[in-house]
């Protein structure tokens, strides 16, 4: 949205992924620049969730390259061209640069909101506890939940939990954030509060890749909308172009169903 640079944060090149015999991703390439907000849309089964999970290696890929922040992510190439997965330790280190927000929040239920947020900085980055706490309180305030610091996830509404999840991901100071259908599991009343947080994040210049069905959000916040269909990237462009003048017939078919 604001101040985009030419610097590539995420580079996915010709990604192929199969589940057994079933091919889900058939060669998807995507580049995301610093500060860009990319929204992925498409029908269910189009592979958009699988694709986003390949970026931070929650899913394996069978072919293709992923680079994050200029570094090859997660795979080394063998002499015959096949990919061998990097060590889990290396992958864990690389994942620090990318934050992820899940459809079902995945907050740690045995920790309070505050504890959820300080957990990774302390355990993974080695941040001193006092510093982590201060930072966490700041993040909670930023997502509008300063008074819920000592609440357990079971005491929070869905929208509140998701906002805590966003704060938790931000605590790692990632270069980019991935959002996997962040509002799909929420009651309609709470969808808005989460989208608002995401919008503010975008305005502050965070690089974001968002999978969502919320077309209003896409129209308002996205720099680029990417359309996936049956494992292929069929169309991408600015939201006005995609929503008003889609060129691909399957894009038109999809949009006519959802809009």
């Amino acid at each position: 949205m604001a101040h985009q640079s030419e610097e590539l944060i995420i580079e996915a090149l010709d990604i192929h992924k199969s589940f057994g015999a079933l091919q889900i991703l058939k060669g998807i390439s995507l580049q995301v620049r610093r500060g860009e907000v990319v929204v992925l849309i498409g029908a269910s089964g189009s592979g958009k969730t699988t694709f986003i999970r390949c970026i931070n290696l929650l899913e394996d890929i069978q072919a293709g390259r992923i680079r994050v922040n200029g570094r090859a992510m997660g795979y080394r190439e063998r002499s015959d061209g096949s990919l061998v997965r990097d060590s889990e330790r290396n992958i864990a280190r690389q994942r620090r640069d990318i934050g992820m927000v899940f459809q079902r929040f995945n907050l740690f239920p045995h920790m309070t909101a505050l504890e959820n947020i300080i957990e990774a900085p302390i355990q993974v980055l080695g941040t001193p506890r006092a510093e982590a706490l201060e930072q966490a309180r700041g993040l909670l305030a930023r997502v509008g939940l300063a008074d819920k610091a000592s609440h357990y996830p079971s005491m929070l509404s869905g929208g509140q939990q998701q906002r805590v999840a966003i704060a938790r991901a931000l605590a790692m100071k990632p270069q980019a954030m991935l959002f996997d259908e962040p509002t799909s599991a929420l009651d309609p009343e709470t969808v808005g509060e989460v989208l608002q947080v995401m919008k503010e994040l975008a305005e502050e210049g965070m690089t974001m890749v968002v999978v969502t069905h919320e077309m209003g959000f896409a129209r308002e916040v996205a720099d680029r909308v990417v359309v996936l269909d049956q494992g292929e990237l069929i169309e991408q462009g600015p939201p006005e172009q995609i929503f008003s003048h889609p060129s691909h017939p399957r894009t038109r078919a999809f949009l006519s169903r959802v809009l």
Partner: protein, 258 residues
């Protein structure tokens, strides 16, 4: 009915030194064997998660063996049969200035090995009960396997593990009577030694039954407290009144589970 109340009250309320030693041994062996069983069970459960057959096949063999043979046979096998076969003999060892007899070592190890197999399955189920999303959240935050298990998965698994773990300790307390056959003077053998001198079998077996009942009931209260403490994050902001916790649904669960 031939029942001597004097003998009964005397042995119930004024236990002899031998008897108290037996009681102490029963508790000590139970605790140590349970600790060993939990350690072995955790190791086995984690190894079982591995995809590598070199790691998880030995575990499956161990669990199959321990659950497929009677505990009494395992105890006698470890202490007596191995020594008779010239394979291994438990010698007395000195530990912190005390002499630990070979049969007590064998008792703890046999009970612990057996318990480990059952704990492995319980812990495996506990780990399996943790939502997969937790692994994904931890991983996406950059956590490695060890941190993930220690900080995120195992604490949640523990909540599921505590009730069956409590039941296992209850069983362990009672299983210690089996080690009387290798000469360990725990509560049962101590009782048998006294009955052989006094012939008051009815009174003395009633006394030992009451001692065990006391032990298991005390443990039951502690287990209840553990279960409540570990479900803290699930509790609504005001806990239910203590009375209903003790004698309401919890008491029914107590009765059902035994």
């Amino acid at each position: 009915m031939n029942f001597n109340w004097d003998v009964f009250w005397q042995y119930l309320l004024q236990p002899s030194g031998v008897y108290l030693t037996g009681l102490w041994l029963t508790c000590l062996i139970s605790v140590l064997a349970m600790a060993l069983g939990c350690v072995l069970g955790l190791a086995a459960a984690l190894l079982r998660l591995s995809g590598n057959p070199l790691l998880h096949l030995p575990v499956r063999f161990y669990v199959w063996l321990m659950r497929g043979t009677p505990l009494l046979v395992q105890i006698v096998f470890l202490y007596t049969a191995l020594a008779a076969g010239g394979i291994f003999r438990f010698e007395d060892i000195e530990l912190f200035g005390l002499i630990v007899p070979g049969n007590i070592q064998a008792a703890i190890i046999a009970l612990g090995l057996n318990e480990g197999a059952y704990m492995a399955e319980i812990i495996r189920a506990g780990i399996g009960a943790v939502d997969k999303g937790q692994y994904e959240a931890g991983r996406s935050l950059g956590m490695g396997f060890a941190k993930l298990m220690r900080r995120i998965v195992l604490p949640q698994a523990f909540r599921v593990i505590v009730p069956p773990l409590g039941n296992e300790f209850n069983v362990m307390l009672k299983n210690t009577t089996l080690v009387s056959v290798i000469g360990v003077q725990e509560l049962l053998l101590s009782t048998q030694m006294i009955t052989s001198a006094t012939f008051r079998v009815f009174e003395l077996y009633l006394v030992v039954a009451l001692y065990f009942l006391t032990l298991t009931t005390l443990w039951g209260f502690f287990q209840r407290w553990l279960e409540v403490r570990f479900s803290q994050s699930d509790r609504p902001s005001t806990p239910p009144p203590a009375a209903s916790r003790m004698f309401g649904r919890s008491a029914l669960k107590l009765l059902r589970g035994r």
